[in-house]
């Protein structure tokens, strides 16, 4: 079901759905100080907003730190710092 929902987005960013080797990693799985490359999104509505804010597939994202209670998180992308909720971060798929 997840596949059918996400197909248009994956298609948009040319992600091969047949190559399901390992579970997808998202920004929410990153550790402070870690960097990765954005590869796609899991939520269509949210992806439009994230793209506008500079979360572009192929660009680097750096995980800076989390809030004291673990949520939200602070990341650097496209040259500036942003905070987003863990739930939102988990929709950004990364490669590393």
């Amino acid at each position: 079901m997840l596949n059918s929902q996400c197909k248009p987005i994956f298609a948009l960013f040319k992600i091969n759905l047949n190559k399901k080797l390992e579970p997808l990693k998202s920004v929410a799985d990153m550790k402070p100080g870690e960097s990765a490359v954005i590869s796609g999104f899991l939520d269509e509505t949210l992806s439009v907003k994230l793209l506008e804010m500079g979360f572009l597939p192929g660009t680097a994202v750096r995980f800076n730190f989390t809030a004291p209670l673990g949520d939200p998180v602070c990341v650097s992308v496209s040259g500036y710092d942003l905070s987003l909720r863990v739930q939102e971060a988990s929709t950004i798929v990364i490669l590393n």
Partner: protein, 703 residues
């Protein structure tokens, strides 16, 4: 010769320095108005560009792209898409943060495709220079075919250049950026010809944002929706693709014009501050101290100017009273209107101080960190990280607190915060609380240490706090909205606040309170004054005769007779009649008609309860607590023969005043902030119901 007048809109992302530029261009020639349908204030102002050209500058809500994320952002797409609308600009200034050009350019490329004449203002050039970044501005301007000016909106550098460019006609860029997908070109062509639009991209916006463009008639919107449905058009998919294409263009352009990229180390200082301010111990401690400071400022420091205002207006009222001859019209002026205006002006110190604090928090970049720290906790109650500041301020006064909710972007979060803030026990409740607590709670100490009266008082504050939190929790399931709650928020680099901007914020907030909420407050206070001073003439005129008859049996001083006349008049005024009419309704709470009158008059402000009680018990206009307390203690309830103010009655009243929306000024401010009477009325009914039920339960279970 009359100067030519053009309309200039300021657009750009939040934190790009739009407001600073607006203040630089317009100075104090600012006007606050309303956009229809949304709650963002419309800030407009006049600016003298050259001898021939004058500009009306309009400051738009901060946005990243034409596709809105919040209800309030819709207005921007609407203004830019409606060529015949009243706000359609002749020219747009896109204010860009030069330290982070990439995100700012997205909107610029959209404006280019709409063929709107645009000037790119590169703001914060000082910071960009600090970061080591260097851009070939001429190349940038040539590649975009858009005039580019370097400005520093904080110091005013470059403003003259910007004015010069705006005065000469600005041409629209001839460079298209985004090509509409071949598949939907026929669709766009149909819309374009039907609405006779100048660009394909404008037609494309009609297609993308049909529901947001409220200037279109329902028939027109249906036409587009039908068309989109027939062609299986999915807005989101295309929006994503559009953004990716635009960023592709921007990236290429920036690679071409960037002479030197910024040194990644330049934000090190900001990051170092973050390590302390978002630390799990220090972060909260510092935030608590900041909150305490704000609270202290509006609770205690504001008291000095407030007392001054209070005394000045009382003095003015008295001296005019002596000057004017007697007569209903003069009474209306000296006792109705002047105190009414005083009742508005009295809030200015608190509003000014709170907004000074808030704008310092916003300007310095700390507010984003407050949200970062508090979001997880507040979200569980349907509130926003930014709700903390209004809620705490609400413990001093709900009026500035509710105005402070403006900083919450999400409409639902803001509405819930507005709705629950009046539950926080404000300083106007304190006089009511102290007199009633002193009356019914013994002065003993628990374990010889904790003062019972203090404990009860603290309990009342906690009660208000929990009422706010629980109501917020329930409301998040009741209020429905299409707007999704996001927290994708920029963490701006820390900087020193610009004091002029703080000043403009204070002026703006004070003005909008005085002229918008003020009208309602004045009207209601005059009505309340009339109710309490006038009654059916036959009884009001008898007042002195009746009292003199009573007095003849006792020996009373002149002052005592005056006090009795005042009490008699209040009893037989319209407010008295309403209070008596309320008696059957409030009897289950343990109140008599005298308390009923106090409930009516204290709708003006809660502390009026004390002065009304003093008048009605013939104590004159004393506010001396011991006198009132002694009098209330000796009051006998004729039905029981025992004291009138039993513990049950006292607690019932305390709980009632903790929960009830006994404040017309709050209602007036809620009306202004929500742009309508719907929410203040729901709030009034809800809070009164909660107050009534709680007081009922308390009284019935204790008596």
């Amino acid at each position: 010769m009359a100067a030519k007048k053009i309309k200039v809109a300021l657009a750009g992302k939040p934190n790009s320095g739009k407001s600073s530029l607006f203040n630089q261009l317009t100075g104090l020639n600012q006007k606050i108005g309303n956009f229809p349908g949304i709650t963002v204030d419309k800030r407009t102002g006049l600016c003298h560009l050259s001898d021939q050209v004058q500009a009306e500058i309009i400051d738009l809500p901060g946005i990243y792209s034409l596709y809105p994320r919040t209800l309030d952002e819709k207005i921007v797409a609407e203004i830019f898409a409606d060529q015949h609308g009243p706000h359609y600009p002749d020219c747009v200034v896109l204010v860009a943060d030069a330290t982070n050009l990439k995100n700012c350019m997205l909107l610029l490329t959209q404006l280019m495709d709409l063929r709107l004449p645009t000037v790119l203002a590169l703001n914060m050039m000082d910071l960009a220079a600090q970061s080591g970044q260097s851009i070939d501005v001429q190349e940038l301007s040539a590649s975009l075919d858009v005039p580019v000016v370097m400005i520093n909106a904080r110091t005013g550098q470059g403003i003259q250049d910007l004015k010069k460019i705006l005065a000469g006609p600005v041409k629209a860029s001839s460079k298209p950026v985004f090509q509409i997908d071949e598949e939907i070109k026929p669709l766009v062509a149909q819309i374009r010809s039907r609405f006779r639009l100048t660009t394909d991209y404008e037609a494309y916006q009609y297609l993308q944002q049909t529901e947001n463009l409220i200037f279109l008639s329902q028939a027109d919107r249906d036409f587009i929706t039908q068309l989109a449905k027939a062609e299986k058009f999915f807005p989101h998919k295309y929006q994503g693709a559009e953004t990716v294409t635009r960023y592709g263009f921007i990236q290429d352009l920036l690679t071409k014009v960037t002479l030197k990229t910024s040194d990644p180390e330049w934000k090190k200082f900001s990051h170092r501050i973050d390590r302390v301010l978002t630390h799990k111990v220090w972060g909260y401690l510092i935030f608590l101290s900041v909150l305490f400071l704000i609270f202290q400022a509006i609770f205690a420091w504001a008291q000095i100017p407030m007392d001054f205002i209070d005394n000045s207006f009382a003095g003015l009222s008295n001296s005019l009273d002596r000057l004017f001859p007697e007569g209903p019209l003069f009474d209306l002026i000296t006792q109705g209107i002047i105190p009414g205006i005083g009742g508005i002006v009295i809030f200015i110190p608190q509003i000014a101080i709170l907004f000074a604090c808030i704008s310092i928090l916003e300007e310095s970049g700390y507010m984003a960190r407050v949200v970062f720290l508090m979001d997880k906790i507040m979200r569980q109650f349907g509130l926003n990280g930014k709700s903390v500041v209004p809620l705490i301020s609400g413990m001093a006064c709900a009026i500035p607190a509710i105005m402070a909710t403006r900083t919450i972007e999400n409409w639902k979060d803001r509405l819930i915060t507005i709705f629950v803030t009046p539950f926080m026990s404000c300083s106007a409740r304190l006089p009511v609380f102290t007199i009633l607590v002193a009356l019914i709670i013994p002065e003993d100490k628990l374990f010889g240490f904790f003062n019972y009266q203090g404990l009860v008082l603290m309990g009342l504050y906690l009660l208000g706090f929990f009422a706010a939190i629980i109501s917020a929790f329930i409301l998040q399931f009741i209020i429905k909205t299409e707007e999704r709650s996001y927290l994708i928020m920029e963490m701006p680099t820390y900087r020193k606040p610009k004091w002029a901007n703080v000043g403009y914020t204070i002026v703006e907030k004070t003005k909008s309170f005085v002229f918008e909420a003020g009208k309602v407050i004045l009207a209601i206070s005059v009505v309340l004054w009339v109710l309490a001073s006038y009654g059916p003439p036959e009884q009001m005129n008898q007042a002195e005769a009746v009292v003199l008859v009573q007095a003849s049996k006792q020996t009373l001083t002149e002052a005592e007779i005056q006090d009795r006349v005042a009490a008699y008049k209040l009893e037989h005024s319209y407010a008295g009649i309403i209070g008596k009419g309320l008696e059957p309704m409030i009897a289950p709470l343990g109140y008599d008609w005298k308390i009923g009158i106090a409930l009516v008059t204290s709708f003006a402000a809660r502390e009026v309860f004390v002065s009304t009680i003093a008048t009605i018990y013939s104590l004159g206009s004393t506010e001396d607590q011991t006198t009132i307390k002694t009098q209330l203690k000796s009051e006998i309830n004729p039905q029981t023969g025992g004291p009138r103010y039993t513990t049950a009655v006292g607690l019932s009243l305390l709980v009632f005043y903790t929960f009830a929306m006994q404040c017309m000024s709050t209602l007036a401010v809620v009306k202004r902030e929500t742009k309508g009477w719907k929410w203040p009325l729901i709030q009034l009914v809800y809070m009164t119901a909660v107050a009534y039920l709680s007081a009922f339960i308390i009284f019935q279970s204790l008596s």
